[in-house]
């Protein structure tokens, strides 16, 4: 069965979000901004003023550092664009969503269904995963224009807040829905049925590691 393809605005209506199903393929139109640990720390911990009107300008937060440069004349060149793993940002996301009204969190690898149920769904937000990873050149083609780069001086090119105008930017895969279900967990569960057969005959290592036991009074031998 071929996945469904959908075009979606980066300031989506609640109805458009409710329509999305796990595994749908999405292409985005409108303004999107990059924000990862650097932006989160600056905005939430250092309480710096966010240099955009959110969410009216954009409700799409991309966990991304682009392969891009700022030219001597101040213009921008953006080559490839792909996401970075999102699970590391769970610490900041609830507060970020509340503050910015982000409805689309776009990144790599998704979050847990616990994250989705506890703060994605209450904020009317879903997670879109990049594909591959990563289809950097295809996503780069979807960048119509780089509108601004905020906080480059403070955070550097990789952590700066890039504001991108998207034109049918994609593909992305819908990885959470309004039930708070998680596409990756659904797939994990299917694969789990096979684990016993694949591991048959293999042996646990003679020398254990902490983490295989969480009791630090244990020995590893």
């Amino acid at each position: 069965m071929k996945p469904r393809e959908i075009r979606l605005s980066t300031t989506p209506t609640p109805e458009a979000i409710a329509e999305l199903r796990l595994g749908d393929i999405v292409y985005l139109d409108g303004l999107m901004y990059t924000a990862r640990e650097g932006v989160y720390m600056r905005a939430l911990e250092d309480k710096a003023n966010i240099p955009m009107e959110l969410p009216s300008e954009s409700a799409a937060n991309f966990h991304c550092s682009p392969a891009a440069r700022i030219n001597a004349d101040g213009s921008f060149d953006m080559g490839a664009v792909t996401a970075t793993a999102s699970f590391r940002f769970a610490k900041w996301l609830p507060e970020w969503m509340e503050k910015t009204g982000a409805k689309l969190i776009i990144g790599k690898g998704g979050m847990s269904s616990k994250d989705y149920k506890s703060y994605f769904v209450p904020n009317g937000a879903v997670y879109l995963s990049t594909v591959g990873y990563g289809t950097g050149a295809l996503l780069g083609r979807g960048v119509e224009n780089v509108e601004a780069v905020h906080w480059n001086e403070e955070l550097g090119l990789a952590q700066a807040m890039w504001v991108i105008r998207c034109n049918k930017m994609g593909p992305f895969i819908v990885a959470s829905d309004m039930n708070g279900d998680c596409l990756f967990e659904r797939e994990n569960a299917k694969i789990a049925q096979n684990i016993e057969r694949v591991y048959e005959g293999t042996k646990p290592a003679v020398l254990k590691r902490y983490g295989e036991s969480d009791d630090r009074s244990d020995e590893v031998i």
Partner: protein, 318 residues
């Protein structure tokens, strides 16, 4: 004498090629995988990746936004001489790395581990890494750049002789399961396994097995070559494909490299060279000839030699 300007110019073009052009051996491997893949979502992902490589080449833009951490492997024929000496060579490679980061552009990934300071050019303390190898004959120098991506997919474990092959299999599967879920390893990948050596060399062997050997190559030891086939199939029998979706393609190839280790141990490392398996190679001769290729051809009989002397053994073989 190999002109230093030619080294820098060639290095710059290698940076560009590595970032933009997927090597033919990996591309062929992925095309085969895409033909056999029947998981709906994994199949979609592989097709999107194949389109992505085309888009990168057409537009001359990097294939992935995470352009990895550029590094260099340099191999010299025994009679090679570099204008300005080896420090000039290192400077040329650092210059090429910085200028290509701005030129392609690449993502300036390299930062200080504690202060997170960023030179915006992928150059800093110990970056790019430059590693060396030598061959008994030749006046040439091989420049190999690898832009390995990803923070996931790599692991090390001290195993012991009593762990045996079944213990090796378990750790291999553990690594694929741990980093394959949600596609953190950006599979299907070239999986490199390092067995033996001291701890640091075990990591080096595994990394080189993944990034310096091509898809379809086999270890010169026939029993290790058999293990490579078996491990490739084992990885692909998990039922996991691209992005951790249900599928049958996790491992494009499995390469194993070994080194002699402490008699009591059997250290093992696992590495994943991702869907953007970026590598580019050129051989430069003193007369100014430059030959580009994608096979690093690193693991020659000389690199895998077991004996004290080299020449006498070779003469005996002839």
């Amino acid at each position: 004498m190999i002109p230093i300007d030619l080294i820098q110019k060639t290095a710059e073009s290698l940076m560009d090629k590595a970032a933009i052009e997927i090597p033919e051996d990996y591309l062929d491997g992925l095309k085969k995988a895409a033909e056999t893949e029947d998981g709906d979502l994994s199949s979609f992902v592989l097709k999107a990746m194949l389109e992505n490589y085309e888009a990168a080449k057409e537009d001359r833009r990097a294939m992935c936004g995470d352009t990895g951490v550029p590094r260099w492997f340099v191999k010299l024929g025994n009679d090679a001489r570099v204008e300005g000496g080896m420090c000039a060579l290192e400077t040329a490679l650092r210059r090429a790395t910085a200028s290509a980061t701005n030129g392609v552009p690449l993502r300036p990934n390299r930062v200080h581990p504690l202060w997170r300071t960023d030179h915006n050019n992928n150059v800093g303390i110990g970056a790019p890494e430059i590693e060396y190898g030598f061959e008994p004959e030749g006046e040439w120098i091989d420049l190999i750049t690898v832009h390995k991506g990803g923070l996931f997919g790599t692991d090390y474990r001290m195993l012991f002789p009593s762990d045996g092959i079944q213990g090796i299999k378990r750790f291999y599967l553990d690594s694929l399961m741990a980093f394959g879920k949600r596609g953190l390893a950006c599979q299907p990948a070239i999986i490199g396994i390092g067995l033996g050596g001291s701890k640091d060399i075990c990591m080096t062997l595994g990394k080189r097995a993944s990034v310096l050997r091509t898809v379809g190559s086999r270890n010169s030891d026939p029993r290790i070559a058999e293990m490579e086939d078996e491990f490739k199939e084992l990885g692909n029998s998990i039922g996991m494909g691209a992005m951790g979706f249900v599928g049958k393609n996790m491992v494009i190839d499995c390469n194993i490299e070994v080194g002699y280790c402490h008699t009591g141990g059997m250290p093992m490392s696992v590495h994943a060279f991702c869907l953007s398996s970026r590598r580019a190679v050129a051989r430069i001769y003193p007369d100014g000839r430059v030959e580009h290729r994608t096979d690093p051809d690193w693991f020659t009989p000389y690199q895998r030699r077991e004996t004290v002397e080299w020449d006498p053994m070779r003469e005996a073989a002839e």
